[in-house]
């Protein structure tokens, strides 16, 4: 090769190298961009939920001089406890409000005035009166929960600049609320109602307690079914199963079952457990069974991995001192594999906790106000409650939905953290 052509080649290569390195850098940037895109999506999702949901953890209260007027309550001085329980506290609140704002006269204005206070306030007054009948006939300053629209204004979620027709809260209500605020009669507190009550038509009265209990019962059934069956199936497939067609079929089956859409399991639950076996609709029992079938493949697959990872020396030692195969597995292999099995089970349970679609199929979409007392009571679960609230057009429910999502995600983070913790301890061994 002559010197001339060698030089030519070198310059050609150097020229192309520049281009190639530029491509290389570009390619790396695509990669970084992709990772960044994922991060941005995650950030937007979480920020959106947190920003929408945080206001729901506070609730505004308005201090009202409640007059426990016997006449308005519709009871006389010799009222029995039952009569006190059934008195008309709503009328008492209304008349107290009218006393506080004496210049309200027209019907429409009165109605607006009453809408400052939550419909549920009468029940807290009732409970107070039952606890302390001496209240009746007196006037007390009592903090009552604000109506969700008034609360929304007090949380600065409603702009005063909007024309009156485009917001739910009226100008006159804003005036009253501002007056109340100046007098120190409005206060923001931690929203306990959200954690202590069931579903309600009124956003400010709605809570997640019933849904939390429903989720708890459902997951309990799921765990009691899926954990033993999953672990036993894993033990069988990993330790006892002969290599034959049937075993292959079972293995292929488990892998495919893991990829069947969850809604199909819902159809199964509806057709088999509800229509054929006539188990109760909307009950955690059926929900739990269906979710157990959904999580079973996860538990089996992770348990098998955990059992398979147990060192052969453990088997040899146990077998060497005369343990039978079952004794070896139950006394020695399973305890060693248990952290791994639990990790898989917790991940399966987390999956079950977030599952919604199959539960819609078996009717867990009912409007549930009361906390379910057992696995056969009609109930709903947290994700379904989120689904139901997300469908409500009212603004107050949007923030409830986000807040419920935050609670749900909180539980998921806890469960996953527990799983990670177990895995870390497992790896140390």
């Amino acid at each position: 090769m002559s010197k001339q052509s060698h030089y030519k080649t070198t310059t050609a290569i150097q020229a192309s190298l520049k281009k190639r390195y530029a491509t290389e850098r570009r390619f790396q940037w695509y990669g970084r961009l992709a990772v960044l895109t994922g991060f941005i999506f995650l950030f937007i999702l979480l920020a959106d939920i947190v920003s929408k949901g945080t206001p729901a953890f506070t609730q505004h209260f308005i201090k009202v001089d409640v007059i426990f007027d016997r006449e308005k309550l519709g009871i006389d001085s010799s009222a029995t406890p039952t009569e006190i329980a059934h008195a008309d506290y709503s009328a008492a609140i209304k008349s107290s409000l009218r006393t506080m704002f004496p210049d309200v006269s027209t019907r429409g204005e009165k109605k607006s005035l009453y809408r400052l206070i939550s419909v549920g306030a009468q029940y807290s007054l009732r409970d107070m009166a039952i606890d302390n009948p001496a209240l009746i006939g007196t006037t007390r300053e009592i903090w009552l929960p604000a109506h969700s629209e008034a609360g929304s204004y007090l949380k600065n979620q409603v702009s005063k600049d909007l024309p009156e027709s485009e917001r739910k809260i009226k100008d006159i209500q804003i005036k009253w609320l501002d007056t109340l605020g100046e007098e120190g009669r409005t206060e923001s507190r931690f929203n306990r109602t959200f954690f202590t009550s069931g579903d309600s038509r009124e956003p400010e009265m709605a809570g997640i307690k019933a849904a939390l209990y429903g989720s708890f019962y459902t997951l309990l059934v799921t765990f009691l079914l899926a954990f033993p069956i999953g672990v036993m199936a894993a033990v069988y497939l990993e330790e006892f199963a002969p290599r034959n067609r049937l075993t292959d079929l079972i293995e292929i089956n488990i892998n495919n079952l893991a990829a069947v859409p969850s809604i199909v399991f819902g159809l199964l639950g509806l057709a088999v457990f509800i229509n054929f076996f006539e188990l109760p609709r909307s009950a955690p029992l059926v929900g739990g069974i269906v979710l157990a079938l959904i999580t079973l493949p996860t538990i089996i697959i992770t348990s098998r991995a955990a059992i398979g990872a147990v060192s052969p020396s453990i088997y040899q030692a146990a077998m060497g001192v005369g343990a039978s195969k079952l004794q070896t597995v139950v006394h020695h292999v399973l305890p060693v594999a248990m952290p791994g099995i639990l990790t898989g089970s917790i991940i399966g349970m987390a999956q079950a906790l977030g599952e919604t679609a199959p539960l819609l199929m078996i009717g867990m979409v009912a409007f549930i106000m009361d906390v379910p007392g057992g696995v056969t009571d009609p109930s709903t679960v947290l994700p379904v409650q989120i689904f139901l609230w997300a469908d409500s057009p009212e603004r107050g429910f949007t923030e409830k939905t986000s807040a419920a999502i935050m609670v749900l995600m909180g539980f998921l983070v806890l469960m996953n953290a527990l799983a990670v913790f177990l895995r870390k301890r497992f790896e140390l061994k």
Binding site: A34, L42, G230, Y236, P261, V264, G354, L360, I386
Partner: protein
Amino acid sequence: MQTTTIFLTLLALCVLSFFMGRNRSRVVAMRLGGGLASLHSLPQHYGYMAAMWAAIPALFLLVLWSGFESTILYKLVVAQLPQSIQDMPTSELGLYYNQLQGFAQGGFDGTEGDPAQVAASEHYRVLASSSSQLKAAMVLIVAVLGGLLAVRRVTPLLRARNHVEKIFEWILFGSSLVAVLTTLGIILSILFEAIRFFKVIPLQDFLFGLQWSPQMAIRADQVAASGSFGFLPLLVGTLLISTVALLIAVPVGLMSAIYLSEYASRRFRAVTKPVLEILAGVPTVVYGFFAALTVAPFIRELGESVGLSVASESAMAAGLVMGIMIIPFVMSLSDDIINAVPDSLREASLGMGATMSETIRKVVMPAALPGIVGGILLAASRAIGETMIVVMAAGLSAKLTINPLEAVTTITVQIVSLLVGDQEFDNPKTLAAFALGLVLFFVTLLLNVVALYVVRKYREQYE
């Protein structure tokens, strides 16, 4: 007696049998003078054996009885009804029977029913209560007999441990069969209802029809509008949303996987991967809420600002959010596949002077392609079967379009909207959900089988 009570009593009997069996083995051993060493198995094995004998046959009977109880009661009670009532169509008879059960449980006062129904409800009540008493008695008797029989059989030579282990192995085998039974249950139940649907609506109308409006068929006289169960618009809608999702998820997921496995430092990878996998752990109902309340209005406004008309439940919004959901799925599948490509290939290419990106594009990717295609198929099956996002963010009306800015509906949305709140099982509207479920099941099954096959073949190539 309540099933729970029977269950608890059974449990108590089990524990009792265990102690009796264990004690008996000790007594027998002592009596023969050989001490515990003369026993073939440990004393507790005799106990376990007795407990199993008490529990298993009784449980079997309990399950069998509970399973057939309602059917037999139905047959018995209906047989007693006047002929005119027995000749009613099955659905009406079912309603009549439900009412009668209500009377028997005291849910309604008997004044509302006709005399025959009230009499039958009394008959039902007597039968039901005697059945449940008989059930409890039989189950407990079987448990006691089983336990006693096992205890009586205890001798030092009885191979109790082998016996117990054999039974236990069968129980383990039974547990592993649950997965197979589930699949069988899914196929049979869905197929059964779907066949009932295809008896009313011809298969070809379902598969090739261009119109989907099940709401038309609520009343019996409207079923004739059979063109309303055409499934093609749903399929197109499902594919449209899934395509949008894959167009988001595949580039982002694949490039992230390439970057994380080929370029990123170990520390960066250790932090980034779990964070991105959070996206996979977010419940789908949360994505649905996000899609419906944040993304859809945003896309709508964005479209309007450039003069496009975007439906408020556009396929774009649902697809975009579904894409976000499956990013980590695509990422971890591709990651596995890329890591399975042997380093010798990379080293050879780098050694020839290729840059990293050239190696990845011209050597690693072609080698990994079958596996990645398999992964994309799995992601597609996930997208097709996804329910909550589309239920909350996609439309309800079936429109045959491939414009992602319009509202479309999907198979899963229709299943939910057909079944939620509706309980009647005889009308084609409800049964249609099962036909759709059947299609969904087989489409996703096919995708999975193909994908798993491709991925396995690919792995074997480099092992």
